[in-house]
Symmetry: C2
Subunit: 216 residues, 2 copies
DNA sequence: CTTCTGAGTCGACACGGTGTCGATTACTTT
DNA sequence: AAAGTAATCGACACCGTGTCGACTCAGAAG
């Protein structure tokens, strides 16, 4: 039912030694996948493209991963930690003004999408055909929306944010959706620091006006 | 290069008579496709599912359509007109307050996604693997963003909307992205009039606060 | 009424990708 | 050096695609 990369750890950090050849080829498959995702979608990538890139035969692939999707799952996990970090930036802000912490969090998200756009795009796309990826994103979204909604309610209770409606949870939901789809689209275009900065400013502005009612 | 449903008209309105059998089967394929999209994604649908649903053999499919994607394109065109209508609602508002025209436009969009969610979702998904669909959406997005940005600038010039930054075009872009992805997600869930209404209110609120700075 | 034409249909085929299995080889461990 | 487990491979059966040439059949032309 559940299934993940089936070869549980494949840790790079952690255990000393025991770089047991298998880990090396798993790693090679992952690297090849990440490289290929820069030019093709996941289901345009054939298994033998993954394995020939790693110097092994096609059938050996199935020793390391259950499916193409399992590879994507493993790649996504490498990246998702970064997502959580950037999300945490808004929360637990000190006496810093909201504008700064929100801008920092959004800038971090945009940067992450710039860096791992292909993987994140593939992960998003796989969400509605693959149950493993659906669960993965459901978990990510749950944490994001929960903590954002909670933060909105705190700010409202403190009289800093404008009160509802809209309901805090749904507001959090649409704002996070907005960020995701804006980042998705951004990562499709050619890299441009100026446009990225403008995107960060635009998203920040929408967040500030929607939650606090002010443009800082 | 370009290619569409290859059998150009397949019009239902227009020509009297000449319901030339071929049009009937094309239509049957389209109907079957729309029905199947309610439960599967486009590339999970095999050609013989489409044709057996229409009572013909698999190979006959290729007489009527060039590919599965061409079927989706034909389906999308049936729906896109509705999109344009709802977009036009904000523009050319009379003396009506912005809150009302924006709410009406968003409500129409949400309703359209409720009605044709499966097709629209498939069309969105096909966007980044199929060039025909990419061009189709590029055209839709272009019209939407252009006219929205233009409207924002008009309202700013009139002193009704808060001035930039953010740049009107990019603001339009992220707001429209937000609407699309919110509708996409909404159409995945079970139909609920209450939730739909709440979504409309939330999106409207974000638009109003982002563009006009007020919740009306 | 026949004949011709082309729109519409079909079965057969070659191709390419998937996933599995049993056999084989390469490392470790004692 | 022997034993066992980790990793690899080729072969195979399966499934979906797209193409091709042959067939059918309705309606226009004679």
């Amino acid at each position: 039912m559940c299934c993940m990369s089936q070869r549980a750890p494949l840790s790079s950090a952690g255990s000393r030694r025991k770089r047991s050849k298998g880990d090396l080829t798993s790693q090679a498959i992952l690297d090849t996948a990440e490289r290929l995702l820069e030019t093709k979608s996941l289901d345009e990538i054939a298994v033998d493209e993954l394995t020939s890139g790693a110097g092994i035969s096609r059938s050996t692939f199935y020793f390391h991963f259950e499916s193409r999707e399992a590879v994507l799952y493993a790649l996504s996990e490498r990246v998702s930690e970064g997502l959580y970090e950037s999300a945490a930036m808004w929360l637990r802000r000190g006496s810093e003004p909201p504008a700064d912490s929100i801008r920092r969090a959004i800038a971090a998200t945009v940067a992450l999408w710039r860096q791992h756009g292909p993987v994140l795009r593939a992960a998003v796309r796989a969400r509605d055909t693959n149950s493993m990826m659906r669960d993965f994103w459901a978990d990510v979204a749950h944490r994001f929306i929960d903590s954002t909604a909670q933060q909105i309610e705190i700010e409202r209770a403190a009289g800093v944010a404008v009160p509802g409606p809209p309901n805090a949870r749904m507001l959090a939901n649409v704002l996070i959706s907005m960020n995701e789809s804006a980042c998705y689209n951004m990562s499709l275009g050619r890299k441009s620091a100026a446009r990225d900065r403008e995107l960060v400013e635009t998203l920040t502005s929408v967040w500030l006006r929607s939650v606090y009612g002010a443009s800082d």
